[in-house]
Symmetry: C2
Subunit: 344 residues, 2 copies
């Protein structure tokens, strides 16, 4: 792949840098995505275009591409697997928006509010099935195993999250299990399928899986902090969604635990009312955010994310710093930093 | 497999006969289904048990088992594929009930009315993902290709049906395309994967695919007639669901076409009001059924089903009537008859 000086300009953010480095590959992935979301049933490409056309960071397929380069893979199947990963993610987003009754997705009105719940569910199913069509075409049964397992783990994570709604006493362990499944499993699988394609050793496969898993955990932790705003960043989604749903995330778990420890009856009564009893008024998001800030809960959540970023980065130590690897290894290390640094 | 006299008693209905013939196999399929619907997230097995435990005919996995015997398959992978087929079907049912706002499924309250829409969507996703785990374990990439393609075709069919809601002028062709995709594709795939496992010739694979496809069309045509009642049979689902949703099915297409041909302004006004404008009162289902009966639309729909049954049966001609085949071939032929004869 030829790289121009512009593509690797130091002025770019790490994700822009990685996207530039992978721009030729990502263009191929985009072509596959657009081809495979087509259907004679017009509502399918319309709705898929609404979601896919809105962009998104394409972080997960980017992991597949970067990991393939890092492993020295020379074939073409990583494009299909990257597209498959994005289809699984898109299917999950469509179903999540119905489950969460979301109003916004990627800065646009959520598809379920335009087309209704039914098309969002069914087009999600379509994209999910298409992702398996793509995997089959690669002929890699091992990649199929990794991505189908990730898919069932994601669904388990989503159900676990649902079962934990309004559970103000949720443990950190349950929360980490939940985000490990609903978010990190796909990051892990996206990174792991590439060494499988490349025929890399088991240790490298494990390293990239760990990188993906830890990056995914960091990503979700940051997302959960961002839901309470307070950071200068455009999210493309509504602030306070988690709070309004009564979703327990690390910031609230930390703040509630502190309230218990300090016997802060005002805070305890507040969290029980808004989470357990789901009795909220318009001002409560601001009150919640103030509690989180006074308990340093958002900063503590970002600290947890930073720790996972470090673990992700360390996992890449197994890869040599030779000329072939250096560029992609550096890009993945910087990307992990960026997941947290974008908010701090 | 040992068969007792009881198992093949002539007093059994064809589906009971086939179930008896395949009882040892279906017990193995059931074990796999129950094992693989487990999860540490309790809501998943609870909801899956509600649906799977309610029984259902297990018609689709039965096709996989019967086709495997007919092809002389001696391995064990047909059990896993049969379970995978039932998981795809179960996932579809869970999502359909949310899409259709169904009240009943298999004679029990639909899962979405007990647990809510969100768990039905997510547990459907879980079962769908698990179906691919099972397929991966068989190591048959060809079976994976057939079932993943069927899955995307099913989703396309469901969206096509949704897009055609309240379209009183739907053509027979569009309707047949819709049921061919939403229903028959899985019957076809369920029957086709077995000759693939057995390494049968392409002609036998095509024959079983045709058998499944045509049986599926007949099955859906009968189901669509049954939605307007008038037959002494327990459906385990509510009568009139299609009508209340404004779903166009062959009986209504026939009755509406006759009304157009005869310039029957009363009938035309009725269908436009209840379907196009979806303006219905409680008595309208009875009025609709009376219109369908006076136009022989239900009988014509069953005639169409009978024609597909004949095509299904003829497809099996390629299989010899030798001792090994006769039993299973006869069972499949009788099963096809039963799909229609159960209502007439």
């Amino acid at each position: 792949m030829s790289l121009t000086a512009t593509k690797t300009s130091p002025d770019l953010s790490p994700i822009e840098h990685l996207l530039a480095l992978a721009s030729d590959d990502m263009a191929k992935v985009d072509t596959i995505i657009r081809e495979r979301m087509q259907s004679p049933v017009g509502m399918i490409p319309d709705l898929a275009e609404h979601l896919v056309g809105a962009g998104g960071k394409r972080l997960r397929p980017l992991l597949t591409i970067a990991a393939a380069h890092l492993c020295g893979y020379k074939g073409e199947n990583h494009y299909k697997l990257a597209a498959a990963v994005e289809f699984i993610h898109s299917a999950t987003l469509l179903h999540d928006d119905v489950v969460d009754l979301s109003a916004k997705r990627r800065g646009k009105k959520a598809a379920n509010l335009i087309w209704g719940n039914a098309p969002s569910i069914l087009v999600g199913d379509f994209l999910f099935a298409r992702s398996f069509n793509l995997m089959v075409e690669t002929g890699s049964m091992e990649a199929l195993g990794i991505l189908s397992t990730a898919s069932s783990v994601i669904a388990e994570g989503e159900v676990r999250q649902l079962a934990g709604l309004r559970d103000v006493e949720m443990s950190v362990e349950t929360y980490m299990q939940t985000i490990g499944a609903k978010t990190a499993a796909l990051f892990a699988a996206a990174a792991e399928v590439s060494p499988v394609l490349a025929g890399s050793c088991a240790a490298k496969q494990k390293a990239l899986r760990t990188y993906g898993q830890e990056l995914g955990l960091a990503f979700q932790l940051v997302d959960d902090a961002l839901d309470y705003g307070g950071f200068e960043i455009s999210l493309g989604k509504s602030i306070g969604d988690d709070f309004r749903e009564g979703k327990m995330t690390l910031p609230v778990i930390i703040a509630y635990a502190n309230a218990v420890k300090n016997g802060d009856s005002t805070a305890l009564a507040f969290w029980k009312r808004v989470i357990t009893h789901h009795d909220q008024s318009e001002d409560d998001l601001a009150v919640a955010t103030a509690f989180l800030k006074s308990e340093n809960a958002l900063e503590a959540t970002l600290d947890a994310a930073r720790a996972h970023v470090k673990t992700a980065q360390s996992a890449l130590d197994i890869f040599d710093d030779d000329a072939q690897n250096r560029e992609w290894k550096t890009a993945l290390i910087r990307l992990a930093d960026f997941v947290v640094s974008r908010v701090s």
